[in-house]
Every structure is written in structure tokens, then in C-alpha cells.
Assembly symmetry: C2
Homo-oligomer: 326 residues x 2
């Protein structure tokens, strides 16, 4: 491993050593450095990238209000009952209004902080719309390299960027709940295609069976399944159905391994990582630099005056900031 | 206007002429060319970009199931009653399962196709997850240049990419409905920050007043409003509250104009257009070319074998595909 010859390499070195000895504080620190865009992050990521591949990464998504956090908590219990370790990444677009993630539904998970085989991290967007997923792939890399048996990545909502985060998962669990208006509507968001296991939570609701039927009917529209996603009913607040759900998730993971399909999923996550890194080195760099040297303001003025148009301007900025300088 | 000296320029030229004489078929064709990434699209976009600025662009967003399409339909009625023209762009992530947008709630809007002052276009993602918003900014440009008094941009869902599309709007309407579990949860998606006018639809529901109170309380957390977003109750299926809602939307648009804030909104949309164009010329180009010449497959193999890592690979691909070739 090549490290820069500087005082900085001690920071990265001590964290990497902490990973080898599975010190939770090292993981926490590494995540913070990555989130802050620290210069030490790159060395840590380079080294930890080589140690990926042991964790089973489970993505969990679904609309607000379906009871995802309660379900995640029950899955953690099931994982621990099997004697496995788990890291949980909650990708939670927080509102600048409240200054942080919605805490009410986080309290229960955080109550497990005394169990050292469970590690929980919430990635807030820190008030930047669009800032949610930039580091998620790298942080999953860190969790995987740290060596958890399972890594759970929980996203809120069913929009495009939440679906993008699911590309990093081996297996994707979609959580729905009856009576929230999102059964038939769910297919609008591309969720039906991305799910490997579906869960109808709050299944004590009178409309639960209907929600399951609608979902099964939607799934039947596609005859080409290699793996036909099962639909499981749960009442996570009472722990019901969770053992069966966990069983189906593991069944899917085994299916991937036995049919040499895991590599496909891993490639998908590599493509996602590559895309994030390319965006960072192109789009982000161009905006940061053109903003700081005043070029962006001048460009916006020209656009307003109709003197140029976005496509031409984009090409000029690419030449200026990506190819002319080193 | 510079056009390529080729037979192709007749395509662009005839469409641009159609814009000048407000032929709907020209707009329809232009949108199709942009969606298909046609070589003629660039000439059309260059020319039409200069003619923007007359339309009031209203973004409309909200979770599935809140009755957005019904509300859009009532807004169209209100707009027409004022003697104004309106173009509607529905950005609707469609599912490959059903082959197109969910049609049930589109029928009512399409029934207005005999009114030539209303133009409706649905932009499907055509089965590509993540493909929804790539052309939205350009298509809004086309609608604006065509000269509608109002352009409505309707998105489904409350995820990040839907919020991104709202950057193209002058004014943003957020539609919510009681009983769907998305009142308190809505702030997780950044929707509270993006809205200029809030609408609680299906207000005949028993929880409607509570939903309004919760929303008002959330909005009160921010004391720094230049414009304090109003919360309006509607029952769009019965046409109730729509006149008041339309009035508040126009009040916001006037507020922007009178306080020289419209320029800020226009700049925001220019930044969004610029970002889309940069992504197209960088991320999209790199993936398309590296995929077609086999480099991407080789790169993925190296990543799987731990011989390189995403950040280093990203830099190499940028050099190879963006800066070395012309």
C-alpha cells in the first residue's frame, strides 16, 4: 500500500490498524473522514477496498411511514440471534429545519449501542439537498472491509436516488404498508424492479391481504424471473413474520451464490462506485472551481442574456477545468 | 443562428419555423427529438433557448396517492378560465412491467386534447431507472420558448431526483393528503424546503385539519422566510379550494417579480441545466464509450480482483475519454 510521505499517513495508518483489530472507534472515525471529504479518506478507502467481499449487503427501502426502522430493529435482533454481527447505515435526508435526522424512530435502534456486534451510523445530508448519496458507496466499502457479517443500508423514500443506493446491495428488501396509498403507486418509482424480497408490514391492518394480492399480481406481470421475489407479511412492532422474512432474505443470498449471480450484483455496485467517483471528479470539481473563481457567475449572466446556451457552456467548462489544468 | 450545412438543418429549421407560428406538431416533434437524443436536437435547443422567459413555470410534486393528477386537471381549468394557455409536462417514472405511465389517472387530463391552448406531454423513463430527468430541463426550455403562459411540471414521488426537477421551476407547489403517513415524514425528503405553496388535498378526510396544523407547525420552525408558504386545503375531485390555490400560486409569482427574486429562480434553473449538460458530456460519455470498446468490462474485472479502486479508475477514464480524444 502506497501512502503519502507526510504526517497525514499516520492518521490513515492508525485507522487501518484499527480496522485490522476491529476497533469500532476506527470505523467511526473513517466514516467521519469520508463524510467530511478529508484528504486522509482516499488512503483509507484505497486500502480498505481490497478487503471487501465478506459482508452480505442488504438494502432496505420503502416510503415514509411503513415502519422501516421498527423492521430494521427486528432484523437486527434476528441477525444477532443467529450469532452474526451487523453494521447499519441509515441514509436519511435530514431537513435543515430540524437540524438532523428525525429522531423519534431512531431511539429504538440506538438503544442497542451496548451490543458491540451492532454498529449504527446515520448519514445525514447536512442540509444539502442532493448531498445524500455521494458517500454512501464509500461508506459501505468501509463497513464491508471492517468485517460485519451483514451490512444493512436503509434509505427513506422511494425516489430515484434511493433506488440508486440500492445498486450497492446484494439483496434488496422493499417494505410497504397497507392503507398508505402506495401499493399500486409503488411501481411508478421503479421499486418493483429493484426488489428481491417484498415485505407488507403493519399486516394487522384490514387491507393487508389486499395489498399482498395487488403486489403479487404486479409481480406476475413479469414471467422472466430468475428469482421470483416472495411477499412476506410482518407486524414488526410485535415481531411477527420477521423470522420468516429473514429466512427469505438469506434464501435469496444463497440463491445468488449458488447460481453465480453474486458477481453480477458486485459488478453493479462497482459501476455505482465508479459513477460516483466520476461525478465527483467532473461535475463537482467544475462547479466548485468555477464558483470560487467567479467564472460561474459570469456564465450564468451570459445564459440569462441569451448570449450562450447550456450545452456550449458545459463543453467550455469541461475543457477549462478538467483538461487544461493538472 | 448557425446551422450545420447539411440536409439535417432542414429538420431543425422547419421545427423552429413551427415554433414561430405556434404549431403544436412542431413542439411535439421537438420533444421527441430531444428525448431520443437526436442530432437535430442541439440546433433546436440552441435557438429556442434564446426565446425563453415568458412562461411561468410551476413545479408540482408530492407522494403517490395524494391526487396530484386530479389537482393538475383542476388547475388547468382555472388557468383556462383566466384565458391563459398551458403546457403540462408529466415526469412519470414508468415501470417496464406495464410498458408506460400508469394510465388510470391520466385519462382525465388527456380528455382536454381538443383544447388547443392546452398541451400535454408525458415523459416516461422508458424502462431506464435513473433516466427520468435527463431531458426535463431541455423540454421545459422548449415549452417556454413555444410561449405558453404557464408550464406545469408534474413529478411523481418525493425523492431526490423529483426535488432536482423542481429546480427548473419558478414556483413549487407541494401536494399532500391526510392519512397517507406522509405529513411528518415529508420533511425527510427535503420537500418542506422546496415548496412555495403547500396544498392539503382530499381535505374532506377527517385528519385534514390536523395535517394542516402539523404542516404549519413545521413551517414555523423557520423564521427566515422572505415568502412564508401558505397552506391551502383542497378537494380537487370536487373542485373545492382550487381557485384559492391558484390565487396563492399567482401571488407567489408576483411576489418574486416585485422583489427581483425571479432572477434567482432563473439562475437556479440555469445551474440545473448546466449540471445536466455537464453530466451528459462527462459521466454519460465515459460510460457509453468505455462500454462499447470493452474497457469497462476490463475495469470491472480489475476492481473485482482488488487490483485497482474506483477513485483511481475514475481518474484514468476521465483522462482517456474526455481529454485525449476530440
Amino acid at each position: 500500500m502506497y501512502l503519502h510521505e507526510s504526517a497525514g499517513n499516520q492518521v490513515a495508518e492508525s485507522i487501518i490498524q484499527g480496522f485490522r483489530t476491529r476497533k469500532r472507534a476506527a470505523l467511526a472515525r473513517a466514516v467521519t473522514l469520508v463524510e467530511n471529504g478529508s484528504i486522509h479518506a482516499q488512503d483509507i478507502l484505497e486500502e480498505t477496498f481490497k478487503h471487501r467481499g465478506r459482508s452480505r449487503v442488504l438494502g432496505i427501502t420503502g416510503s415514509p411511514g411503513v415502519g422501516k426502522s421498527t423492521l430494521v430493529d427486528s432484523l437486527i435482533t434476528a441477525i444477532r440471534e443467529h450469532g452474526n454481527s451487523v453494521g447499519v447505515i441509515a441514509v436519511d435526508p435530514s431537513s435543515p429545519f430540524t437540524g438532523g435526522a428525525i429522531l423519534g424512530d431512531r431511539v429504538r435502534v440506538r438503544s442497542r449501542t451496548t451490543d458491540d456486534q451492532v454498529f449504527f451510523r446515520s448519514l445525514a445530508s447536512r442540509g444539502h439537498l442532493g448531498g445524500v448519496s455521494r458517500h454512501t458507496g464509500d461508506i459501505i466499502t468501509l463497513f464491508d472491509a471492517f468485517g460485519f457479517d451483514y451490512v444493512l443500508v436503509e434509505t427513506v423514500g422511494t425516489g430515484q436516488s434511493e433506488v440508486d443506493i440500492m445498486r450497492y446491495a446484494h439483496s434488496v428488501l422493499v417494505v410497504m404498508a397497507p392503507g398508505l396509498g402506495d401499493d399500486i403507486q409503488a411501481i411508478k418509482a421503479g421499486i418493483l424492479e429493484i426488489g428481491d424480497v417484498f415485505c407488507v408490514n403493519k399486516a394487522d391492518h384490514p387491507d393487508a391481504d389486499r395489498a399482498v394480492s395487488v403486489l403479487e399480481a404486479m409481480l406476475e406481470l413479469n414471467r422472466d424471473w430468475k428469482w421470483r421475489p416472495p411477499v412476506i407479511k410482518t407486524v414488526a412492532s410485535q415481531g411477527k413474520g420477521v423470522v420468516e422474512l429473514f429466512g427469505k432474505i438469506n434464501m435469496h443470498l444463497e440463491f445468488l451464490e449458488q447460481n453465480n449471480l453474486l458477481e453480477e450484483r458486485v459488478s453493479r455496485s462497482h459501476i455505482a462506485s465508479l459513477e460516483e467517483n466520476i461525478k465527483r471528479e467532473t461535475v463537482d470539481r467544475i462547479f466548485a472551481r468555477s464558483h470560487s473563481d467567479g467564472t460561474l457567475d459570469r456564465a450564468l449572466k451570459q445564459l440569462s442574456e441569451g448570449k450562450t446556451h447550456p450545452a456550449a457552456l458545459a463543453r467550455q467548462l469541461i475543457q477549462l477545468y478538467l483538461c487544461s489544468e493538472k
